[in-house]
């Protein structure tokens, strides 16, 4: 069952003018400033005086910069742009005992990633994200969302040398994610997003993702908003099953293919809140506010406004930075204009009329 927790109101900014509130957020990653990439190279160069302490300072500076960039764009909830992360599986595997790295493997063309191997039972050592959450929360004036790579993706996009099957590995990893969320919540986090792009590759494994989520949310207070992000899949193969996932929000990329799959989510009724991708992260053309408003209205075919969150399709890290910023700013502007139109009764909301 979707958690249906009434935890959205805490993200409504003080002084929000409209009666309606479309929660605006981002999926997580953001283009890194070029100087941060140079700093990372320098820290890896044994001949350089630039050391890991300097790199940490550079990460902090970048995280503060991008958090403030998100606030300037007007987002209701912000992320640090994942400035400290190079890759969504590697980052966590480096923090989980049981993983080892052997070298890069091909994804496509000359794009590679350091696909890790699970060589023994995974366990929890030091917190993964608490320091970076506390840093971001300190520099932010808006609530901070924490994206975490989900256990199914962590299991599926690793070599498994130690477990009988990926399902067992995913459940063990889910227990670790649950521990991490406990520490993040103690540190003040109220908005967690579990990223499971691997579900799009192997949609038949939706039950494994569902059971992993049960473990992830075990003991997590209803005040803590739990989102699930999935992208680039055939959603008819995981819907309506995701209605049974214990989540508050399902965030999905649909702008990329022009909302061809929006009807998938219309029947049966969508249970969690919908986090709808309303700007394309693989197209450097910046959508106009009017275009994005039309995209937001697609979401209103599925859920009423009080259950609609708007975000980009996915992480925006592959876009030029100024494009990423402009898309985000236009997205927030579009959300605010749709709220005003809803207040004025100018929009016919199909999903709101359901009994």
């Amino acid at each position: 069952m979707a958690r249906n927790a009434d935890n959205r109101a805490q993200f409504r900014p003080d002084g929000h003018d409209a009666d309606h509130f479309l929660l605006t957020t981002v999926v997580g990653s953001y283009p890194k400033p070029k100087w941060l990439n140079r700093a990372t190279d320098l820290a890896e160069d044994p001949d350089s005086k630039f050391d890991n302490g300097d790199l940490k300072e550079a990460h902090n500076d970048a995280a503060q910069l991008i958090t403030e960039e998100h606030e300037r764009a007007g987002l209701d909830t912000v992320v640090d742009g994942e400035m400290r992360r190079e890759e969504m599986v590697e980052y966590f595997a480096h923090r989980i005992p049981g993983y080892e790295f052997n070298g890069p493997v091909k994804v496509w063309g000359h794009n590679y990633f350091d696909k890790p191997s699970v060589v023994s039972e995974v366990s929890y050592d030091e917190p993964w994200l608490v320091d970076e959450f506390e840093f971001t929360a300190n520099v932010a004036t808006k609530p901070v969302k924490v994206p975490i790579t989900g256990p199914y993706t962590l299991a599926r996009w690793s070599f498994n040398e130690a477990y009988d099957d990926e399902e067992t590995l995913a459940y063990d990893l889910a227990d670790l994610v649950n521990q991490e969320i406990g520490k993040l919540v103690d540190a003040g986090a109220r908005y967690i997003q579990i990223d499971e792009p691997a579900l799009a590759t192997t949609p038949d494994d939706h039950a494994i993702v569902g059971e992993s989520l049960e473990r992830i949310v075990d003991g997590v207070d209803d005040d803590v908003r739990i989102g699930l992000h999935v992208c680039y899949g055939d959603y008819s193969r995981i819907y309506p099953e995701i209605n049974d996932f214990p989540i508050d929000e399902f965030d999905v990329e649909l702008c990329n293919d022009g909302y061809e799959q929006i009807e998938v989510f219309q029947d049966p009724d969508f249970e969690p809140d919908l986090g709808l991708g309303v700007v394309d992260v693989h197209d450097a053309a910046v959508e106009t506010v009017e275009e994005i408003k039309r995209n937001i209205r697609q979401g209103l075919k599925v859920v009423p406004p009080e259950k609609l969150t708007v975000s980009p399709d996915c992480g925006v890290k592959l876009l030029p930075r100024e494009v990423a910023y402009q898309k985000t700013e236009n997205m927030v502007q579009a959300a605010r204009e749709v709220e005003a139109e809803l207040d004025a009764g100018e929009l016919d909301v199909a999903a709101a009329t359901r009994p």
């Binding site: 052997n102 070298g103 890069p104 493997v105 091909k106 994804v107 496509w108 063309g109 000359h110 794009n111 590679y112 696909k115 191997s117 996009w157 070599f159 498994n160 040398e161 691997a198 590759t201 192997t202």
Partner: protein, 337 residues
């Protein structure tokens, strides 16, 4: 007495230094992938990498040496992706993997290309009389057709026949080779429908007929369905290749018991998609697990290999698996599962 032959399906991971040098020279985007007319600066890196992987196979004691298909940015779609009458569309998923290739869109006649023969010839030049025989790798005609989009022939059977003729012309241009592996995972992943199934062995025969070498049709990503397996046995080939790593290997045994099998067989016994390195003994036990269950068949030759192409692996583990496969074929004693 069965001869055990340690080999690979080709499509090796690039040596790590070649990965970064080629990324710098070619770039990271779709338009930067291999074109077939790359400049000398790039061919130099591939030449160097080819020498490295040939030497590694020698060191591992393998009984066949492959070129490694190091230029195949688009994996099994490569032979069409570089063809003059083929455009490349969007980036699409490679089977059920977190890997992607450019969709080859066939817009004109599939004339002989000569691209793969030139790299097989480059590998042949690196071998001398003391080396094991050269093994060439190509996609099976069904898999290559399945990975491509036909915008010219307009009929599935006609397209399959055209792809087979194209591959046959490539094979005819190969230098002398001892073995030809036709990699055909689409027979498992997206088996042919009833209309096309009977055309598959004909297409394979077209390619196999172009060489005097032993021809192996290598299937993986699981077991073949019964009907596809039965049709495959109609092809005039020396060996079928079967995946013994995948979970449904019992089905593979069932097919062989029920429908028979070729005189030689190629067995995918080492996991091409997992870094866990199996011991030579384990690999031989997996082979024996299969051969012991197929009655009335005394295989003349058993090829041992990774079940899939090994490009999924990091280089250190790939090399360790080459060593294990080489040693597995050389184990003297009889091994039973």
């Amino acid at each position: 007495m069965t001869e055990f032959v340690g080999t690979t399906p080709g499509l090796f991971p690039l040596p790590d230094h070649a990965k970064s040098e080629l990324a710098d020279l070619k770039g990271h985007q779709k338009g930067d992938l291999i074109s077939g007319d790359e400049p000398e600066s790039i061919t130099d890196v591939y030449d160097d990498a080819r020498s490295t992987v040939v030497a590694e196979q020698r060191d591992a004691g393998l009984d066949r040496v492959v070129e490694g298909c190091l230029r195949w940015d688009d994996m099994l779609a490569h032979p069409l992706a570089v063809h003059d009458n083929v455009g490349t569309g969007g980036i699409v998923r490679y089977y059920d993997n977190n890997n992607f290739y450019r969709d080859p869109c066939v817009t004109g006649e599939l004339t002989p290309s000569g691209d793969v023969p030139s790299e097989v010839a480059a590998a042949a030049d690196l071998l001398d009389d003391t080396d094991p025989p050269l093994q060439a790798t190509l996609p099976g005609p069904y898999s290559l057709a399945d990975l491509a989009t036909d915008e010219f022939y307009g009929d599935d059977r006609e397209f399959l026949a055209a792809v087979a003729s194209f591959l046959a012309a490539e094979v005819e241009a190969f230098p002398a080779h001892g073995t030809l592996f036709l990699l055909d995972p689409s027979l498992v992943a997206t088996p042919p429908d009833d209309d096309l199934a009977a055309a598959v062995p004909e297409a394979i025969d077209t390619v196999a007929g172009a060489t005097d070498a032993d021809v192996v049709v290598y299937t993986y990503f699981g077991a073949l369905d019964e009907k596809t397996y039965a049709h495959l046995l109609d092809a005039d080939i020396d060996a079928v290749g079967l995946d013994l790593v995948d979970a449904d290997r019992e089905t593979t045994v069932y097919n062989a018991v029920e429908y028979g099998i070729t005189d030689d067989v190629a067995l995918g016994v080492a996991d091409g998609q997992n870094t866990l390195v199996e011991s030579p003994e384990t690999l031989r036990e997996r082979a024996a697990w299969f051969t012991d269950q197929v009655p009335a068949t005394d295989f003349e030759r058993v090829y041992l290999s990774t079940n899939t192409e090994p490009f999924y692996l990091p280089v250190n583990k790939h090399r360790a698996k080459l060593d294990a496969v080489g040693a597995a074929a050389d184990l003297e004693r009889e091994v039973h599962a």
